[in-house]
């Protein structure tokens, strides 16, 4: 008995010594959300009542941008400037790229994205979503995780670059799980558009119906998690009330689940296999939840980290029609039916087959539309006549019976881009 005790003590001493030798910082205290004085109404069965449609549209980045130093919040003027920047010229897909974009590039980004991406965000004056660690940055990844992510990125180059130079799609798994209409990441951050969820409660259960893709059913009765062998795309979530805060622990993700995709908090190529997440739904005002997520996975990050996003309930959304009449409606969750209309995956794969065939029959550059690069507006006009349509920097040529042939993009009076690049010039002339 005494011998065993001695052994345990000496083992602990060795472990401590090891830590000291390696120079590791002591493990940070587990994150706890700050206390709040707000008391929400109760359901008839006595749980805090958080039911309704919760909006989490946001343009606050996950990590604190380097240029704000250690400031945690923006001033209201800075937020106004940021929102104006987002509105005109509109570009809110990716801050860094927008900041560097030329007017022509902004126009191209705007053509697709402005319709989808609302600027009507839930108020949040912070510079980053990350609350812990205090520097607002995701902690360093482990060497093992870096290796896995590097291999993944090599095998699956990012497809969602928002421009026309996406890599080949050879296989459906070149797309992420959301593009395949399977699921979004859980837990979920902002989804870009339709980023809201219905929180429904019944005795012993919480159900979260995200407008896009996910339906999460969370039992509150203390039942065990699904075993890892039953791994699910959304993991296995179990919830409980701690005071007025809903605490949900999730684990047992399928090993097919990996980062990236809409609502992603983890980058592409990070496997979810060992993730354990804790979500805290903290009601702080009648229409506001502070939604904290602690991510634990010692095989991926050197320490746990926590981000927070404010959710706003039952928002009134403004819609203006093209004559400027503004109407207001409460946020309603509609059917998303992603898979039913998903022609993207199949068409992209067929596109790869077609592109490879074209490549095999490739003609010399001088004979195809690639040769237009650098030419002036007058030269293009001389070759093909007046364009069918001019939209900003983009000229469109169609066949005489209206079939789209060619886009030519100008910057400073010269062709900077042409799509497709390998159309024989004679085909353009012949069919016009």
């Amino acid at each position: 008995m005494r011998h065993r005790l001695l052994m345990l003590v000496s083992m602990a001493a060795v472990a401590l010594a090891g830590a000291a030798v390696a120079g590791q910082a002591p493990a940070p205290a587990p994150f706890k959300p700050p206390a709040t004085t707000y008391t929400p109404p109760k359901t008839p069965w006595g749980d805090p009542d958080l039911q309704g449609v919760w909006d989490n549209h946001s343009n606050v980045p996950m990590e604190r941008p380097k240029n704000v130093g250690d400031r945690k919040t923006y001033t209201d003027e800075e937020i106004r400037a940021r929102n104006n920047r987002n509105n005109e010229p509109l570009c809110n897909t990716n801050d860094e790229r927008c900041a560097k974009a030329t007017v022509a590039e902004l126009d191209r980004l705007r053509a697709y994205n402005s319709f989808w991406t609302p600027n009507d965000n839930v108020y949040d004056n912070r510079t980053a979503l990350i609350e812990d660690p205090a520097d607002g940055r995701i902690p360093p990844m482990t060497p093992r995780a870096i290796e896995i992510q590097r291999a993944h990125t090599k095998a699956h180059p990012p497809t969602n670059g928002g421009d026309n130079d996406a890599p080949e799609i050879r296989h459906w798994t070149d797309y992420d799980l959301a593009e395949r209409c399977i699921a979004a990441q859980v837990p979920t951050t902002t989804m870009g558009y339709n980023s809201a969820q219905y929180l429904m409660q019944s005795p012993g259960w919480v159900m979260l119906a995200h407008e896009r893709l996910n339906t999460r059913i969370i039992p509150l009765d203390g039942r065990p998690h699904l075993p890892g062998t039953m791994g699910e795309w959304m993991g296995s979530s179990r919830g409980r009330w701690e005071g007025n805060t809903l605490v949900v622990e999730t684990q047992s993700f399928t090993d097919k689940q990996s980062g990236g995709s809409v609502g992603a908090f983890a980058d592409a190529g990070i496997p979810f296999t060992n993730f354990r997440t804790v979500e805290y739904f903290v009601p702080v005002a009648p229409n506001r939840i502070h939604y904290y997520v602690t991510v634990n996975d010692p095989t991926t990050w050197t320490r746990p980290w926590t981000f927070m996003q404010p959710w706003e309930k039952d928002r009134q959304l403004e819609y203006s029609d093209n004559i400027g009449t503004v109407t207001t409606e409460p946020y309603q969750i509609y059917e998303y039916a992603c898979h039913e209309g998903n022609n993207t995956v199949g068409n992209s794969m067929r596109g790869t087959i077609a592109a490879r065939q074209r490549e095999a029959n490739r003609q010399p550059d001088a004979l195809v539309t690639r040769s237009l690069l650098g030419k002036s507006e007058a030269e293009v006009r001389q070759m093909f006549g007046a364009p069918t349509e001019i939209g900003g920097p983009r000229w469109t040529y169609s066949t005489s019976n209206g079939i789209l042939l060619l886009f030519v993009f100008f910057e400073d009076g010269k062709v900077v881009r042409v799509r497709p690049e390998d159309l024989p010039l004679t085909d353009v002339v012949r069919t016009r």
């Binding site: 050879r170 399977i182 259960w205 039942r223 039953m230 039913e340 199949g346 794969m349």
Partner: protein, 282 residues
């Protein structure tokens, strides 16, 4: 004489019908009074729980004998399970031209070729099932009920419906699962479902509808663990009159009952896209 005889027979039929009805309803009504769970807030039947139909209506709403699998390599795994009609009166009252379309659907139900096939049974493609088919797919579904709020979530593809209690708004646009407005009729939950598109079928046997479909569902708890489910189907483009299906729903009473992930989108990827895979570049 013949007339008399006929009247006599009718009287017997009526009397025995009434007796049967008494036998059927009296114990049930008494049972219901005693045993159905009720909500604490409005004393209405408490439908919260995980439910499942236990029948083979998804194969065919009408009578269907057992049969071999339509795909021989799946052997008896894929065999058609026998079942009696869940349609009141047995047959669906198709218009003649609509019946021809049903027969055509039946031939196309199991496509012989890969790819998204819009002529095939939508279940084959993992498309959202619509109402009432979602109810009797061979999967459980969960009802979430709280004051003035009601949701149903189905295990199949996580299909789901927000159900508007005392809702008056009409469907703003057609969708796969439709627009559900509900009210209580005594102890029966009545849901009117409109705004369903014309892409869903009722079963694997090609029974179908147009976008004029209107479904009225009735959920009546008959005891703690059973609901009588009725759905009246009205679609003047396809049927000569409204018709009704009736079936019990059973509570999943396992302690660990829960919906598990059935993300069938993933299960059809090879089927949809397998023929378009390109080899890696050399």
């Amino acid at each position: 004489m013949r007339k008399e005889w006929g009247r006599f027979l009718t009287r017997i039929a009526l009397a025995s019908g009434a007796a049967l009805a008494l036998m059927a309803t009296v114990p049930t009504a008494a049972h219901a009074q005693a045993a159905i769970p009720r909500t604490s807030w409005d004393k209405k039947p408490d439908l919260n729980g995980i439910w499942q139909a236990m029948n083979t209506a998804n194969w065919d709403l009408e009578d269907h004998p057992g049969g071999p699998s339509p795909v021989f390599v799946t052997g008896v795994w894929g065999a058609r399970l026998p079942g009696l009609s869940v349609v009141d009166g047995g047959k669906i009252p198709y218009k003649p031209e609509a019946l021809a379309k049903r027969e055509q659907n039946r031939k196309n139900a199991l496509t012989g070729k890969p790819g998204r096939n819009l002529d095939a049974d939508p279940e084959l493609n993992c498309f959202l099932p619509g109402v009432p088919r979602a109810t009797y797919l061979p999967h459980p579904f969960q009802i979430f009920q709280s004051p003035n709020r009601l949701w149903m979530v189905y295990e199949f593809s996580y299909a789901r419906r927000e159900i508007f209690m005392n809702g008056k708004e009409e469907a703003p646009i057609d969708s796969w699962m439709g627009w559900s407005n509900a009210r209580w009729d005594g102890d029966t939950l009545v849901i009117e479902v409109t705004g369903q598109n014309d892409q869903t079928w009722f079963d694997r046997a090609g029974n179908y509808h147009s976008d004029a479909l209107k479904v009225v569902e009735r959920y009546t708890m008959i005891d703690r663990d059973h609901i009588t489910y009725e759905a009246t189907i009205d679609d003047p483009n396809v049927f000569t009159r409204p018709w009704k299906i009736t079936m019990p729903l059973y509570r999943r009473i396992e302690k660990n009952a829960q919906l598990l992930e059935f993300r069938c989108q993933e299960y059809v990827e090879e089927f949809f896209y397998g023929e378009f895979v390109s080899p890696p570049r050399e």
